[in-house]
């Protein structure tokens, strides 16, 4: 008799949310976490005494309302902080250009640079809201099976079709047209300002080894808009305490319903007996029995835990083919005071500083960075996204001190010559000089710098090639194709072995798959 009904591998947001939901249904659940801290890629980490950063990403992402309610996350400490701005473009020669949650405010700001663009902003956000709303509907149900003749599947497809039709003829066509488009074309269709187009280009190429001129990057942009309030473009979702607080809230909810979380427990094998999951073995040799094992690790790691004799070679090939080309690095600064940020000689207003400041002058500059990255080189001028979380959440640093977190885009995991400490610090120096161009006093304010290359992200957070989305978001790795067609509904060909991570539909690192997974598990038991 197993002590556990199910073992969940990985104590990130997805693993913990899945564990909590299952335990709420009366299941005995064990969560195994390789590291000594929970949180996975959402972990908030102290990188200098007294200074904490959301290590991997600044935006905690979309958490479905139903999940927040079901697990009473607010009661478990999840508290969203207001963020004053969305995306803010800083350039050497132009004034800062900011988008705010308030459309009128954004339009007023844009007017100074381009009356035409200002005039289109409201229509643009309206379209983005409707398109993202459709994606959200698709993300709230399991991945459709286009090919299935089963009544349930046909009904689900018809439901999504109906949702699409509700947009009206014009918008429906627009959504179908825009999703496979390059984000560069989307930006050019709407706006004339290079810096505004570049903001979209950077968002559309986040965590993918593609440039803004690549098809499908409009989807990457729209994906990040899922769950955003109307009119908001690229506004970070920030819990008090950093992204780690989201994972903590899930952990709190899980523990309350009896979930056991074991830290420092590294899985070496998922045991299979008679074509069915039997439990897991840890690197220490310890064996833990369970009739279900649910992995929130990426699909490559997950399937590698299973003896290949149980897996169809076609599946192994499909898993091997999942593109997980890490393309993001992070650099965190512990600052003794807030540097003075400027753009085109103008001071960046305080509320714009609270947004995500983007250093990318044009679509071409982002595309050129990708050109270098695709051949294994670190770009000379990568696009940077800067966040100062301490402006919103002072608890992350000592009094009046600050943290600056930089996302460096298009940094190849597959760097020619590989990654080591000196290559990492070289990247850090490069980022420091780029940021210093808009914040000249950065160097003297810096107490400590922490560089996470794609290789660091891989080794520290166990995501293959440092790909934070556990598989690039691309049309061929989306919906019923994610992570592979046969495992797109969380179940795998090995009975009792399930996936619940970011590598599965709907590409969420904030627990959005959890409700869908638990529903599938419940159906499977019946």
């Amino acid at each position: 008799m197993n002590r556990y009904d199910a073992i969940v591998i990985g104590a990130g947001a997805n693993g913990l949310a899945t564990a909590a939901l299952l335990a709420k249904k009366g299941r005995r659940i064990l969560v195994l976490e390789r590291r000594d801290v929970a949180g996975g890629t959402n972990a908030t980490e102290e990188f200098h005494p007294g200074y904490r950063a959301s290590a991997c990403r600044d935006d905690a992402g979309w958490v479905p309302d139903a999940l927040v309610r079901r697990l009473q996350l607010a009661r478990h400490g999840l508290h969203w902080l207001p963020v004053t701005a969305g995306l803010v473009s800083l350039t050497a020669d132009g004034p800062p250009l900011a988008t705010y949650p308030d459309i009128g405010r954004t339009v007023d700001g844009l007017k100074a640079s381009s009356a035409a663009d200002a005039g289109r902003w409201a229509a643009f956000t309206g379209f983005v809201d409707r398109a993202a709303g459709f994606l959200q509907a698709a993300y709230s149900v399991r991945a459709p099976r286009v090919q299935s003749r089963a009544l349930g599947d046909l009904m689900a497809l018809a439901g999504l079709g109906q949702r699409l039709r509700r947009l009206g003829k014009r918008d429906m066509m627009e959504v179908l047209r825009v999703v496979p488009m390059p984000v560069a074309d989307l930006g050019e269709e709407w706006f004339s300002l290079d810096s505004l187009r570049a903001l979209l280009a950077v968002a559309g190429t986040r965590d993918v080894m593609h440039g803004p001129m690549s098809g499908g990057t409009a989807l990457v942009f729209l994906h990040q808009q899922v769950g955003q309030p109307a009119g908001s473009i690229g506004v970070r979702r920030v819990p008090r305490g950093g992204t780690g607080a989201l994972a903590s809230a899930f952990a709190g909810a899980a523990r309350e319903v009896g979930v056991e979380i074991r830290l420092g427990a590294d899985v070496s094998e998922v045991m299979v007996a008679g074509a069915r999951v039997a439990g897991v073995r840890l690197t220490t040799g310890e064996e833990l029995g369970a009739s279900h094992v649910i992995s929130s690790a990426d699909p490559k790691r997950s399937f590698a835990w299973i003896d290949p004799v149980w897996l169809d070679p076609e599946l192994l090939r499909a898993v091997d083919n999942i593109r997980m080309r890490g393309s993001t690095a992070r650099v965190h600064y512990a600052l003794e005071a807030l540097p003075r940020f400027q753009s085109g000689g103008l001071e960046v207003p305080r509320d714009a500083l609270g947004g995500t400041m983007v250093l990318a002058p044009s679509i071409a500059s982002v595309e050129r960075a990708y050109d270098a990255a695709k051949f294994g080189e670190v770009p000379q001028s990568p696009a940077l996204s800067l966040a100062i979380p301490t402006l919103i959440d002072p608890s992350l640093a000592p009094d009046r001190r600050h943290v600056l977190s930089v996302t460096v885009h298009h940094v190849p995991f597959a760097r020619r010559g590989g990654w080591d400490r000196s290559a990492a610090e070289l990247l850090g120096d490069q980022v420091t000089s780029m940021v210093a161009a808009v914040a000249p006093d950065l160097r003297e304010r810096t107490l400590h710098r922490w560089v996470l290359t794609p290789a660091d992200l891989e080794s520290r957070y166990a995501c293959t090639e440092g790909n934070l989305s556990h598989g690039e978001l691309a049309l061929d790795q989306f919906l019923f194709m994610r992570p592979t067609p046969v495992s797109s509904r969380y179940a795998t060909p090995v009975a009792g072995f399930w996936l619940c991570g970011t590598g599965s539909h709907p590409v969420s690192s904030s627990g959005a798959a959890a409700m869908l997974v638990t529903r599938e598990l419940a159906n499977a038991r019946e």
């Binding site: 090919q147 429906m172 066509m173 496979p180 071409a364 691309a474 049309l475 061929d476 194709m481 067609p485």
Partner: protein
């Protein structure tokens, strides 16, 4: 039979292959049809011209594989002079002096691939088989009128169900493969199959022909299939060359159209589509002549049709916006050479059967991708991808005895080159092409008698194709099927009643396919009955 400026049942604007196909089908159904062609010869981008005395060039389009077999049958094109000669091999020279060849004999090709990689030779067979199946799976889509997914009309719903049923008829495995082909980059797609770089390079190169994409751009895998669909008289996967050059194809369609009673007027440039009360009533020619007909069909690209021939006030503002943002990015140029002898390839010296096939200058994936990178920022590729054939090796009538013609398709040459194209840039482009050929055939400079260099600007000037784009609009996922050329107007109709479109800018797109021309004619006939 004389027909002056009297009434016609239908006026076709443009005597390219699609315009001629539409004309032939309409005339075959008993309609009085006139085709108006701006130039002194029919064919549009499918013409043969003796630019240099004695040397015949397929000036623009140079090979054929996609011409629909039903058109060949319906119009009895062979009896009107169409003869397709097979283009059997492809040789891809490599930088190290080696090469990769694909021969007409499958076993020989497998042995050739095995010379580079045993693993790839094994995969090659399965790959070819599956790609053949995928081409079969796409075929019915190419021959259907795209249903409007937003429409609830019985006809569109039937169309949608037909598409749905078609995909359901595929096995799950094949459906997913087809989906991947529709959405992936050719390099990523080929990475899943092969390890030999030059094999992936040469295959992906065929996937980017005519597009403004590189091998790593998602969406390019689809074009891979587009070109894989080659079928001549039902034989899949074969490229061909028309005896007499590409113009012979257009001429045979023109003869077929005339045999059904269609009139073809040359040097008759249309300057305006006349409308009355939102209905097309005829056209005005550049010389001031007016022709009337209740049906006007444009085979020109969407931008030329709607932004130059039709008054903006006759069109809904949304539609004009859609046409303006339709991407027609010219990406290729053409160099035609008159040669005193044959090129001597370093990798395969002397005269051999390889000279009767294609020579692909795509030595590595990185080479092709970097060629694309140049073009993205408004320059022509300093080391371009090239698809070369020697038509005189297949059809000796193309050049004087002992002499040869060489057709060089070159990519990338962006229509949006920084500062615009001029004579200096054309010369520099031509020199870059010759230099790039010389890397693999060092004697090329010694045998050139004369050369014709065509930039996208030249292609636009001569043929009228906007930006010189040979497909009348990028074959990207967001511009295909019910989105081509514009959402809601993919069924050959236009917002102006009586005005129709039939060019490559409509579904299913470019290549010498004729499918748009045929489907448009069927729609027009269906609407009339």
């Amino acid at each position: 039979m004389t027909r002056s400026n009297g009434r016609y049942d239908a006026i076709i604007i443009g005597g390219g292959h699609n315009g001629l196909v539409t004309a032939a089908y309409l005339a075959r159904a008993g309609k009085r049809v006139v085709v108006l062609e701006r130039r002194h010869l029919v064919g549009g981008a499918a013409v043969t011209e003796e630019i240099i005395p004695g040397f015949k060039f397929s000036v623009f389009s140079y090979v054929v594989s996609l011409l629909r077999p039903e058109i060949i049958r319906d119009l009895s094109l062979p009896s009107h002079g169409l003869e397709i000669l097979p283009l059997e091999s492809t040789v891809t020279p490599m930088f190290d002096g080696d090469y990769l060849a694909a021969w007409p004999d499958a076993d020989e090709t497998r042995r050739e691939v095995a010379r580079h990689s045993l693993k790839d030779a094994e995969a090659y067979e399965e790959y070819s088989r599956l790609m053949g199946l995928m081409a079969m799976a796409v075929k019915p889509i190419i021959s259907m009128i795209p249903p409007d997914p937003t429409s609830l009309s019985p006809r569109d719903l039937r169309g949608l169900l037909k598409v749905g049923a078609h995909f359901q008829s595929l096995s799950a495995k094949h459906f997913h493969l087809l989906y991947k082909l529709m959405t992936m980059s050719s390099a990523d797609f080929l990475d899943e199959w092969f390890e030999t770089d030059v094999l992936k390079a040469t295959k992906s190169a065929s996937g980017i022909i005519g597009t403004f994409m590189g091998p790593r751009t998602p969406g390019s895998a689809y074009v891979l299939l587009h070109h894989y669909m080659g079928e001549i008289d039902g034989a899949f996967r074969a490229w061909g060359f028309a005896r007499g050059g590409t113009g012979a194809i257009s001429e045979s369609i023109g003869r077929a159209a005339r045999s059904f009673g269609a009139e073809v007027r040359l040097e008759a440039e249309v300057s305006q589509v006349r409308t009355k009360d939102g209905r097309a009533t005829g056209v005005v020619l550049a010389n001031g002549d007016e022709l009337e007909a209740p049906v006007v069909v444009s085979s020109l690209d969407p931008k030329r049709t709607f932004l130059t021939l039709v008054s903006e006030s006759d069109l809904p503002a949304d539609f004009v916006g859609d046409v303006r943002r339709f991407k027609i990015r010219g990406s290729s140029g053409k160099v035609n050479l008159a040669l005193s002898g044959l090129p001597d390839l370093t990798c395969l010296p002397g005269v051999g059967r390889h000279l009767r096939g294609a020579i692909s200058i795509s030595p590595s994936l990185e080479y092709v991708e970097r060629a694309y990178d140049d073009a993205k920022y408004g320059a022509f590729s300093t080391r371009p991808y090239m698809d070369i054939i020697l038509p005189s090796m297949i059809d000796p009538g193309m050049a004087p005895p002992g002499k040869h013609v060489m057709s060089v398709f070159v990519q990338y040459a962006p229509s949006t080159i920084t500062g615009g194209w001029d004579n200096l840039k054309r010369d520099a482009f031509g020199n870059a092409v010759i230099d790039a050929i010389a890397q693999f055939a060092p004697n090329i400079r010694d045998i050139i008698i004369e050369k014709q260099v065509l930039t996208p600007a030249d292609i636009e000037r001569i043929t009228g194709l906007t930006e010189g784009n040979i497909f009348q609009g990028e074959l990207a996922l967001h511009q295909l099927f019910f989105l081509r050329p514009s959402p809601g107007w993919a069924q050959y109709r236009t917002p102006v009643r009586g005005l129709w479109q039939c060019g490559s800018g409509t579904h299913p797109g470019g290549g010498i396919m004729g499918a748009g021309g045929r489907l448009a004619a069927l729609e027009i006939l269906g609407a009339a009955s």
